[in-house]
């Protein structure tokens, strides 16, 4: 059972950091706001990671990092690269950045599996859909301002967290819970600041963290790939909701959350079916 300290550090602290920054940067130019909001998300994920696993570890002569231990470094590098790409050009942001970040996630996550032979089949099977989902989700983030997308992604990531918990990935589930807390706080901040956007830097940080967590849950634990694909679909499902920009905020939020919820629930069902039985 999680303790009060786990809940405070793993959920509340990330939510506070993201919520406060999400509201505070309302007057900043969009690229600065994007960088600062992304930094808040990265910090929130970092706090959630520390709550679960302790301080991040550097690889060394006596230490090979597990895939999950690369997560804080992946998040930090994603924030740096996304901020640079956002400042450079739309081409860099839309096409170069996802390619580089997917390579980063795959390379670090599979670092312990590169010998005796590189698992090219597995890398392409995972990397291809990951890249497609990333592009689609990032494009959605560019088009959607306000609380609706953070609220929808809170649903998707929360479902992923529960699915991971069902399939022997307690650590992944707890960290994903921190990511969901960040998104939930940004959704609340979006009501106060309708111009809040996940575009570019915040989306890149969230997607990098989710990609790393998904590989940990599916490749190194028991989450079925079908559930992972449905969570990816849940992230982009709000793009299928054809509602005009004149729609009021609350109905927009409800519609987007509903569209995200349907594939998320199916993902949970698959995870439940695959969950190993208790032996206790």
């Amino acid at each position: 059972m999680p303790t009060i300290a786990d809940l405070l550090l793993g959920i509340l602290a990330p939510a506070l950091v993201c919520g406060i920054v999400g509201v505070a940067v309302w007057s900043k130019p969009s690229k600065v706001a994007s960088a600062l909001t992304g930094l808040a998300v990265a910090a929130g994920i970092g706090i959630a990671y520390v709550a679960v696993s302790g301080a991040p570890v550097l690889p060394g002569a006596n230490r090979r990092l597990a895939a999950i231990e690369w997560l804080p470094w992946i998040v930090a590098i994603s924030w740096i690269l996304a901020t640079i790409a956002d400042a450079r050009s739309p081409l860099a942001r839309r096409y170069a950045l996802p390619l580089v970040l997917v390579s980063l996630v795959l390379g670090r996550s599979f670092a312990n599996r590169m010998q005796p032979a590189i698992p090219w089949g597995e890398l392409l099977t995972i990397g291809g859909p990951m890249l497609v989902a990333w592009w689609a989700a990032a494009r959605l983030a560019e088009r959607d301002d306000g609380p609706s997308l953070p609220a929808a992604w809170t649903v998707s990531v929360s479902a992923f967290s529960i699915a991971a918990l069902l399939t022997h990935s307690a650590k992944v589930a707890q960290i994903a819970g921190g990511v969901a807390a960040c998104l939930g706080a940004l959704a609340v901040a979006g009501f106060a600041r309708p111009s809040l956007s996940l575009a570019s830097v915040p989306a890149a940080v969230v997607l990098a963290a989710l990609a790393s967590l998904t590989i940990n849950a599916t490749v190194f634990s028991d989450l079925p790939q079908s559930a992972a694909l449905l969570v990816a679909l849940s992230l982009v499902a709000p793009s299928f909701a054809k509602i005009g920009s004149e729609t009021r905020t609350l109905p927009r939020v409800i519609v987007h959350m509903t569209f995200a919820l349907v594939p998320a629930l199916v993902a949970l069902y698959f995870a439940y079916r695959a969950a190993p039985e208790s032996y206790r």
Binding site: A66, S89, S103, N112, M114, Q115, A170, V172
Partner: protein, 199 residues
């Protein structure tokens, strides 16, 4: 920046990031002396125990072990041990529990398929050997010193030679990143290793 330059820069960065994964080899090949004993897995055992709910001992074993031992009765300080345990072979007589032990909550066998012990130095201590070496579990390497009893050396009747060794020692599983379930499963894990090796 032109699209072509962005494309080339992207490819270069992605390639460097990806290729850095190959920089730290997961498998280290260690040289084996020609007169080393080879561990006989059929007649060797690696058994462990840990407390459950602070009430009873739970036992398990690893069924797939391999390695080599260099041992000279006349010069025990020149001995060497190289033991490899396949973490996928963990066996606690309960398939569901074994599946949990192989998961990232415990041994993370898909990422770390082996646990190893490689000796660095050996000293004679009373009638035993004090073996100092690197124990690696779940990617974490710690230097430990264990007391090893030489249980026997004999000819096997077919022109070869057998040597037997036994050791028992306790580690803190949290030192090796195995942190799950500390409330219900003790952090002290005792290993009991009986080896028969042949050359």
């Amino acid at each position: 920046m032109s699209p072509i330059r962005i494309f080339l820069a992207t490819g270069a960065i992605a390639g460097v990031i990806f290729a850095s994964s190959f920089a730290s080899p997961a498998v280290v090949v260690r040289p084996v002396a020609a007169d080393a004993y080879k561990i006989d897995a059929v007649h060797s055992s690696v058994v462990f125990k840990a407390k459950h709910q602070n009430v009873s001992w739970g036992f398990g074993r690893f069924n797939d072990i391999s390695g080599t031992i260099t041992y000279d009765e006349a010069k025990p300080e020149s001995s060497k041990v190289d033991l490899t345990i396949k973490t996928e072979s963990v066996d606690t007589a309960n398939g569901k529990r074994d599946g949990h032990l192989k998961s990232p909550d415990f041994f993370d066998a898909k990422q770390f398929p082996t646990a190893t012990f490689v000796s660095k130095s050996v000293k004679s201590k009373d009638k035993k050997l004090a073996v100092t070496g690197d124990l690696t579990i779940r990617g974490v390497t710690k230097s430990i010193t264990i007391d090893v009893e030489v249980t026997g050396v004999a000819k096997d009747g077919q022109g070869g030679e057998l040597a037997g060794f036994y050791t028992e020692f306790t580690i803190q599983r949290t030192d090796f990143g195995v942190n799950y379930g500390q409330g219900g499963i003790g952090t002290d894990v005792t290993l009991m290793i009986g080896i028969e090796a042949a050359k």
